[in-house]
């Protein structure tokens, strides 16, 4: 039980996919212009991670080693397509704003990485926990970048005006702002980790 819990929490702090493993930066930088987009993207990626880890770990004895990569890709792409369809049907506004980044979850290296490094080598239950933890970690990382960017770049949070009488720093919603925010957050994360030692 304690071990399972550890699989869940490691993705959030110790092995956070964005801040520690530094994977999946493309969506992390592109979609984090607003908190709403970031949370939507995080939920979509968590859904895919959960189900792809579940299926891949239950198929791990059935799939021969030599063709594992195409098999993983079929599984991941299927779940991404499902997310895309569900989003277009039930959250059309969000689907429109995320645009190309929803289908691009297929090539999100966090998902492929977890399938290869964890789900294909572990039992189903730990794999689900791993997928869930990594997904939550990804969502939290995206949201924290987005929170800073939306607040400083647009003066809003989830579309509500927070900072009035404030001249938004346009650079924060552009690519340089994304890189700077991410860099500073990784630095803070490392600082906390080093203090603990």
């Amino acid at each position: 039980m304690i071990k399972l819990f550890k699989e869940l929490t490691k993705g959030i702090f110790k092995e956070n996919p964005v801040f520690v493993i530094v994977l999946g930066l493309c969506p992390a930088l592109a979609v984090s212009t607003s908190l709403e987009n970031a949370i939507g993207m995080g939920i979509a990626a968590t859904f895919v991670l959960f189900f792809s880890n579940l299926i891949i770990s239950s198929l791990r004895k059935f799939v021969p080693d030599k063709i594992r990569i195409p098999c993983f890709i079929v599984v991941i792409a299927s779940f991404v397509t499902i997310v895309e369809l569900l989003m277009a049907a039930f959250a059309p506004l969000l689907a429109k704003r995320l645009g190309i980044f929803v289908p691009l979850i297929v090539v999100n290296c966090i998902i492929m990485g977890r399938a290869e490094a964890f789900a294909s080598r572990n039992k189903v239950l730990p794999s689900i926990m791993d997928g869930l933890g990594m997904g939550v970690g990804f969502t939290l990382a995206l949201s924290s970048v987005a929170l800073i960017r939306e607040l400083l770049g647009n003066g809003t949070l989830l579309g509500h005006n927070i900072l009035t009488n404030f001249n938004p720093a346009g650079i924060m919603v552009l690519a340089p702002g994304a890189l700077m925010t991410l860099g500073i957050l990784i630095a803070i994360n490392n600082l906390i980790k080093n203090r603990k030692k």
């Binding site: 212009t33 607003s34 198929l59 059935f62 799939v63 021969p64 030599k66 063709i67 195409p70 098999c71 079929v74 599984v75 792409a77 299927s78 397509t81 499902i82 369809l85 569900l86 277009a88 049907a89 039930f90 059309p92 429109k96 704003r97 645009g99 770049g153 647009n154 938004p168 346009g170 919603v173 552009l174």
Partner: protein, 165 residues
């Protein structure tokens, strides 16, 4: 040889199940997706032409536009959708005009321009510049967001010209 067959069988069965799953999800979501799309378009038309009681779709020479009528059936104007390639996305806007070809209102339906810069084209401050303008009138673009705003202006004017003809 034996191995190749085994690999093909494994891959085939995985793809087969994936296809079944996907077609099931697609058949559930397809009608909902189409419904929300039609609804969004209808809402957009209502928003730029609130006094319209009846809307009639007209299609001619590759042009699609809507004729708006009041309750006694008089023609009170037209509504059309214009599309333009902006700075980083396709900008879709809905435009309503009077029977004489004067713009009543413009509303942006879809865009994915640079947040805070290109997205100024969705603000009332910019969109009100269209009001009362005709196809040949000048409309000022937004300084700093020239590409996005002039793309929208040009496409609105081009489509307007075509419809008047």
């Amino acid at each position: 040889m034996k191995e190749t067959l085994k690999y093909s069988a494994v891959l085939f069965s995985i793809c087969f199940f994936a296809a079944i799953l996907l077609s099931a999800v697609a058949s559930i979501t397809q009608p909902i997706i189409e419904e929300t799309k039609a609804e969004q378009e209808n809402n957009a038309i209502k928003e730029v032409m609130p006094q319209a009681r009846g809307i009639e779709k007209v299609e001619e020479e590759g042009l699609v536009y809507y004729k708006a009528k009041d309750f006694s059936g008089n023609n009170i104007g037209y509504v059309f959708i214009s599309e333009a390639k902006g700075y980083s996305s396709v900008i879709r806007a809905v435009v309503s005009i009077t029977p004489e070809g004067e713009i009543i209102a413009v509303k942006v339906l879809e865009q994915n321009e640079t947040p805070g810069i290109g997205t100024q084209i969705t603000e009332e401050k910019f969109l009100s510049r269209f009001k009362g303008k005709k196809a040949l009138d000048n409309i000022d673009s937004i300084s700093g967001a020239t590409v996005s705003s002039s793309a929208l202006i040009d496409s609105v004017k081009q489509t307007l010209k075509k419809i008047i003809q």
